[in-house]
Amino acid sequence: MSQTQPAMSEGAAQRAWEPVIVAFLCNWCSYAGADLAGSSRLHYPANVRVVRVPCSGRVNPMFVIQCFKRGFDGVLIAGCHPGDCHYAKGNYYARRRMPLLQDLLGYLGVEPGRIRFDWVSASESGRFAEVVTGLTEAVRKLGPYSRPVPIASPTLPTELEPVHE
């Protein structure tokens, strides 16, 4: 019942599938890096939906799991380089959590290529573009993250059936 459509209209989905990726960007570095990429008119795929967070350490693993529950195709978590964290150590905690989360999601059938955890500083606009491009291409290659409904699943009225491209 909670299968919310990713931010994409159904019509568009039918025309051509485009991955939808959620990017959690740390306010101090990666968001600024993305901003700079924009203002420098660097080219990168428009597939990301940016969520600005105070720190990569603020990215609760539940955010990422929620994204896949809702059927997004990929997730990017980007923060300040080690040593540069605005809060001194938030990114160090993230660096422990995120790979482990990737292990778990991979085990559950979410291909590791759909998740990227990386460092992007405020000045690395080019790197931001690269990271987004890389992830988008990787996800494109993997195809849509679809969630088949097991046969035994309780049937809901048609209009509540999960809709997915």
């Binding site: 422990r96 995120m98 085990y107 990271v131």
Partner: protein
Amino acid sequence: MSNMETAMRETAARLLTEGRVALVLGYEAGSVPFKTAPTFVERAEDVGRLVWSPFCTNNLAVYLPKLKGVGRVAIVAKGCDARSAVTLIQEHQIPREQVVIIGLHCSGMVDVDRLAPIDGSLAGIFISMEADGRLTVASGDGRRTLAVGEVLQERCRVCAYNTPAIADEILGDPASPMPASADPFAVVAEMERLPAAERQAFWRTQVERCLRCYACREACPACYCRTCFADKAAPRWLSKANTVDENWMFHAVRAFHLAGRCVECGECERVCPMDIPISKLNRLLDRDVRERFGYVAGLDPEGVPPLGTFRPDDPDPGGHEG
């Protein structure tokens, strides 16, 4: 009555009589021969209630955080239970000095389903322990005598900590280690051999039948959050509608919350009325936490769970895909 049982009762009586503890957490006889029930002994004259058998499967550490305020508590603990107690001490859920761990050498717990006679029903079954530790099971089909080792729970077969790693007193003869042939992570490797799409289908099929009764969570000593994310109304992380997606998220998040904290006592899986192989998830994170951080949960009360700390020289994702 086994020697272990006698020793356990004596220890409990002594602790209570000397006023060293206010309560002893242990097992009493269950309503049927193949069950025991957690019990709370508060008076030395009641220690006769305490039993010890290969049916003492519950992880009693689950009660420790709930017993705050009763005073010092003694807990009868198998190796896995002792590790849970250690985790609770590490995480400041109970002060070390408020718990007395009565460790027991454990030879494993019986998987009750493996005792069922031919008609599948355990109704009217009778079980007795032989002097050599074997079980005699009598049912309408007749009598069978079998070694506990033949009917062990899966988690016990692969247990490496059947001697409590930490205890204030240890009872019984040192148990022989469980057969080393069993690789605790074989199930993980087996799962990993499947293609991603099949893994996804597997887990979705498993969690589809989840009733969200939360028996797994409630039986877990590490699940002591005052309000579980699954019950939070604001933000509402999880819908109460138990659709596949919601169930999937519940199990994914619960597994992750236990990363580096789960001691593989397997109670979550045992209590699941829908037979969801929950341990298979926990086992993965257990292995990966060992590999990535060289950490094993529940061995050192002074230790810090790996996700609660970091090292500046932890491996860097450095542009790679994780």
